[in-house]
Symmetry: C2
């Protein structure tokens, strides 16, 4: 038996030898084909080359190759409103019959009346109120089920595609390129951690344990003999602005060497990342392409990019101009 | 060049073929040599066999093979006092000149007078007070430096070895065995997360991002132009008892399929783990070996194991009896 197994393995390996000797090898493909050959791509490729060059002065051992990515506006579309807000709106409508007071309470009233402008005008606090209220009052497993069902069928209003298709092809390539070079890729988002975790592995190749986000309080209970986690309508942690370095510290415990955002709310994450020793890369997506995606920055209520644009050049932050730097924006353009 | 590289690879592979055909293969070594051939080991090996058998009904894909281990008393010695308390005692002594009030404030007074019994009598709250006070008031990087220095030189009072040597050899083998079978191994401890992270990778092969623990509040600041995280003397999260499933949910976002503890404070983690569908394994170390380590359970102020012993058989929890089930306790016994 053992001898037979050895022989079989040997023959398989022999086949490999022959194929190595025989077939001409294709030239290594460009790992970032949807990035134009501009300064941004060159900076990324140079950086990855440096930190993986074991003889060089900027070498970083694989265990310390931590890359963090914001999600909304960095990995997927955040216009005209955050996807999680679309989810929350649908939840408000579904739950409204049980909450008659919402008809006269903002921002719920605005949502139910389809008056998005008023709902958005309630600001971060109002948005969080909607998000947290619609995300609590159930077990963790139940919430995962609700998200999974919704994300599996809901479409972006402009692109008429699943939200999980409205992701940036150049970023999918970058995530893979980094992982192929020994990086561990994390999402660090102001969005709800449990809203992202059910689908990030399938869409981005980022498993749940590598997702950092905002959260509500959960409690452990034995309910009808079953151990469950119950989600309470109370904010636990806001993973945004100065909260991002804190979230990184709590969850990852290492300072990233590369961080990628797209708004002023990502500035502290990039500052923290760049504040370490050795080679560091900090990048921001600048949404400049109204034809293929959206164009917005200093005055946008969603994904405001203002201070960062003023400070980028002095700080050595790389501004990735969507129009100039990405040859493809969405995966479906390739087909 | 390319042809030469191909030829070299081919020759290397050819060598492998010959060695496979030629040399008799050694019988696969026992991956758990420090475990006696008792029911506990059999249950572990059977469980791992089942969840990795892709044809079987209990198969679990690698991504979902999450194993969580308590630290104190499960992976390393927690008697006569928690190692982190020894660290805190040394910090109290070092910081005392700056805190004259500690001379007359419990539990600091007791610590400074070497009266450990009184200090321990202050209970969890007193202990946390000591731990949190001595762990704050500095940046994250500074704290990592303090821990790294201390752990690199401090010895266990009885074994006269570095604390990082006072780890359980059977558990080192188990962690490796699980990883070799596609598991991702996590620490889920009531201990301070940032006290563990500087050394868990080197000692257990568990990287910082796979360590879950109690924490104090941190804040992001730009200090003298440098972005830093400042540790504040305020509890953020207690990762103990019912906090453990919550910590697992926050950090990992998946329910473990195997969990290992040693005290009543680990009960909820095991309940949560066992509460999922499919094959699940819940284990507790029972400290029964006063000769090689310590013997304690129902009445111990440290690592109390009481309710668990009453419930284990009914709940299907595996009690690992140190004396009976481990042929070797510490790594140095092997030498």
């Amino acid at each position: 038996m053992l001898a037979t197994a050895r022989l079989r393995t040997a023959l398989l390996v022999l086949g490999l030898v022959l194929s190595l000797l025989g077939a001409p090898r294709a030239r290594a493909a460009d790992p970032l084909p949807s990035w134009n050959e501009t300064a941004a791509k060159q900076a990324i490729v140079r950086f990855v080359g440096e930190v993986t060059n074991s003889g060089g002065s900027n070498y970083v051992p694989p265990a310390e190759r931590i890359a963090t990515f914001d999600n909304d506006g960095t990995l997927w579309v955040e216009q005209p409103i955050y996807t999680q807000l679309s989810f929350a709106i649908d939840r408000v409508k579904a739950l409204a019959p049980k909450h008659p007071d919402w008809k006269t309470t903002q921002p719920f009233q605005a949502i139910l009346e389809g008056d998005l402008k008023t709902a958005l005008a309630s600001g971060d606090k109002g948005l969080l109120k909607i998000v947290m209220t619609t995300h609590a009052g159930m077990t963790a497993d139940q919430f995962t089920g609700v998200v999974t069902e919704w994300i599996g069928k809901s479409q972006h209003p402009r692109f008429k595609r699943l939200y999980t298709e409205c992701v940036y092809q150049p970023q999918l390539e970058l995530l893979q390129y980094l992982r192929d070079n020994g990086f561990k890729t994390f999402i660090v988002s102001g969005g709800g951690i449990e809203f992202m975790r059910p689908w990030t592995d399938g869409v981005y190749g980022v498993p749940p344990e590598q997702v950092v986000g905002s959260s509500i309080v959960t409690e452990f209970e034995i309910k009808d003999g079953k151990p469950v986690l119950v989600r309470l309508p109370k904010v636990n942690f806001i993973d945004d602005k100065a909260g991002k370095p804190v979230g990184i510290y709590q969850h990852i415990g290492r300072r990233p060497i590369l961080a990628f955002g797209n708004s002023d709310a990502d500035m502290q994450m990039i500052q923290y990342t760049k504040g370490g020793d050795g080679a560091r890369l900090g990048l921001f997506v600048h949404h400049t392409d109204a034809d293929r995606e959206y164009a917005y920055d200093r005055k946008s209520p969603v994904g405001k990019l203002d201070k960062v644009l003023d400070m980028a050049s002095e700080q050595g932050w790389i501004i990735v101009d969507m129009k100039r730097d990405w040859s493809v924006v969405f995966p479906w353009e390739k087909r």
